[in-house]
Subunit: 192 residues, 2 copies
Amino acid sequence: MARQNKSRYAILGVLSLGPMSGYDVRKTIERSLANFWSESYGQIYPILRQLVQEGLATCALEHQEGRPDRRVYEITDAGREELRRWLLDPAEHDVGRVEILLKLFLAWQTPVENGLEKARDHRELHLRLLERYAEIERWLHEHQSTHPGLPYWLATLSYGRHVSRALVEWCDETIRTLEGMRSGRSEAEVES
Amino acid sequence: MARQNKSRYAILGVLSLGPMSGYDVRKTIERSLANFWSESYGQIYPILRQLVQEGLATCALEHQEGRPDRRVYEITDAGREELRRWLLDPAEHDVGRVEILLKLFLAWQTPVENGLEKARDHRELHLRLLERYAEIERWLHEHQSTHPGLPYWLATLSYGRHVSRALVEWCDETIRTLEGMRSGRSEAEVES
DNA sequence: TAGATATATATCAGGGAGATATATGATGGC
DNA sequence: GCCATCATATATCTCCCTGATATATATCTA
């Protein structure tokens, strides 16, 4: 059985924020969903055409001076209904792939310093993310203070902050553990 | 440019734990990496053949009574070297897709109760995960107490615990926020 | 004036997941 | 005793999805 196409709903969701072109859909996702979602053009353009075919969106060609023509897509009532149905469905949890954990799981085959490097890099990454979340939050309070979506948007930001704070702590813990092992020697070093 | 094939390294990594069949590779991943990695047969079988072709693994046919023949794959020295090289490379961070956040981001278009349900479900999910992590930790201490990989394996478990604990807190926070909004009415309810 | 960046649409190769097909033995419930 | 289910074992297919690339043109910048 074909598993369901989530890009469809992500794109429909973005169209629910206002009429826009495929290019705008991409930009919107990069600007507002980038911390937990992404879509590529390879999905966006074919799906937009499909949505029109299914009556979930309409398409209007807009001529522009100097720039390529825009195909402006607009969600229909049927599209809003389809989106709402999906929003009410329980969210599926996707474990995904965490490359740093795969590398760490196998890292006993390498010098301890390798694991330490991974943990330090990861710590930096989440500190940067925390800064980004803070910036976005400031921007939201300044520019979207009256939008009914604000509490939900802040909640998605808070998710990221909770995760990143927890992972900075995890990195600290892991660095302490590995530093405690550095005095001895790893398997890899004993071999060589 | 073709992005690199991570399944290759995951499978090579599993083979570094001991010789095994494609079926065993799958089982091993499900038993020990399932919390942060997955591989499907659609990847495993073709990649194993490819690894043999590249000299990173060898294959021996094992006849069995009553059961299908086993193709037992074993990592070579070249394979270990290739794996080690990858383990030393910095880990890439993949944002991935978090469906619950996409739904929550758009949830202002639905009744508040919908967001609450999502948050409550998510809370349950992470409480279950925390129990699973505790079980695995007990098992590791009992059965792998002397393996040089133990500190690393415990670190990957700790990662999961940190994330899940943080997300249970996030759910509590989100539930409090949404419950505070329930007294009023959502956009969707005002419309109808 | 050359190069980067933005606007705009479109497609392809490859990575990857999940389902399914095929065969057989063991296990367990009714 | 029979049926269902699960474990062993290999293999393949469809669909989803990403990242790269192609193609134009306008503006901005060094």
